[in-house]
Subunit: 247 residues, 2 copies
């Protein structure tokens, strides 16, 4: 995947020094796109500026956001990193191998959680795939900048190898994650309307449907189809309720 | 190569903090053997101890030496790292691939020079091979601990791959194509019922949904969900038609 189509997303980083060091690691590996969800204060302080030496363009170009959803709304695919050995999690190398297919013609967001706690369960659910750096279980915790470095290093090697290889096939256009999520939320309302989702606990089943949709990486046209489907289901649900008084 | 047969050699590191951070990077990746040529003073200071958090065994076990020759005298092979793009230098990945052959039955020493200047010409001449991390030429300088991390990461991945018998590859179970098609046909009836598919020409849009589903490669569980969804949509459609007489 071209490195210009990768965005690093740091979620609630606590220490400005870690953000600064992550900027340097990104710049070392040729990455530029950075989004910060709830950035810490102090990114302009002399210590952080010094630690971001030479990578000030990355730091100053970082786009702030208030939620992960906002930060990745323009990304076609979202990959979450985890410090735990999660079943099915990819190595950074596997991520690099899959990145171009994942991103379609768009942008790939790679998400790193807060230093101490990592991403929340809900944030991990937003992700289409998970990545874990296979550190020694005896001493597993990489610091934030080091995790960014390893992932960026793998993406860089893959991009360099790709540059040296014959040109890729034309990728099908993929809808941005925010558009897919909007369709999912419209389906949620419709499926509540027809009683397919349990109003007391709709999000468990919905999460399964979301993963299914994410795996298919819909095109913009397919998102339009899904939204039309949601509207028609909602209409049938409303009529069914009002016509029979069953609601 | 077994990680116990790798030794990291830091030559004249200037800052104790960098040595400490390198110890952590080593420990993250399962390396233990460290030699320090002309180590800096201050390795026992609180800042360095704090930075070596959890990797004190590596730091305290480091073997000091006065020259590179002394530090690598027990190594079968010696690899030097360079921050410059030297003709013929290996990537860390190539090093990992060659490591076992290089080390024979013995120990491989991997040598990192001082932060600012790197190894001298005479020191590089002692090395059997050179390694360069392919950073972006715009911003090439990795710090010492990051260079150690990337090299150690590659060695670790190679060692893990070597350990792994046939790779686990716990692939998620996928539903058979016939099961997916049965769910699609059930959805077709339901979507006709609610008027989402045009009764005069239902199969054009259906083909698009079929492609979307095929791309997601649903699991058997997901096929069950989709069939449940189809039944619920069909139910709402029937009620809507009968309740209002719109059918």
């Amino acid at each position: 995947l071209e490195l210009s189509r990768v965005e690093i997303v740091l979620v609630r980083p606590r220490r400005p020094a870690n953000v600064a060091a992550a900027c340097r690691a990104m710049k070392n590996m040729g990455l530029r796109g950075l989004r910060l969800v709830e950035p810490p204060s102090g990114l302009g302080d002399p210590e952080a500026r010094a630690l971001a030496y030479g990578a000030w363009d990355v730091l100053d170009g970082a786009i702030p956001a208030t939620t992960l959803g906002e930060a990745v709304s323009a990304s076609v695919a979202v990959v979450g990193t985890t410090g735990r050995e999660v079943a099915g999690a990819w190595t950074p190398r596997r991520l690099a191998a899959e990145a171009a297919a994942l991103a379609g013609g768009g942008t790939l967001g790679i998400v790193f959680g807060p230093e101490a706690t990592g991403l929340t369960g809900a944030e991990l659910e937003r992700c289409h795939a998970l990545v874990h750096v296979p550190t020694d279980p005896v001493h597993p915790s990489l610091n934030l900048a080091q995790a960014v470095l390893v992932v960026a290093y793998e993406l860089r090697l893959e991009a360099l190898a790709r540059d040296a290889a014959p040109p890729p096939a034309v990728a099908t256009e993929r809808a941005a994650a925010g558009e897919v999520e909007a369709a999912i939320l419209e389906l949620r309302r419709a499926l509540l309307e027809i009683g397919y989702l349990d109003a007391a606990n709709p999000d468990h089943i919905l999460a399964e449907l979301r993963r299914l949709a994410a795996r298919a990486r819909p095109s913009p046209r397919e998102v339009v189809l899904l939204r039309g489907l949601a509207r028609q289901i909602a209409w049938a649900g409303r009529v069914a309720r009002s016509g029979t008084g069953a609601g």
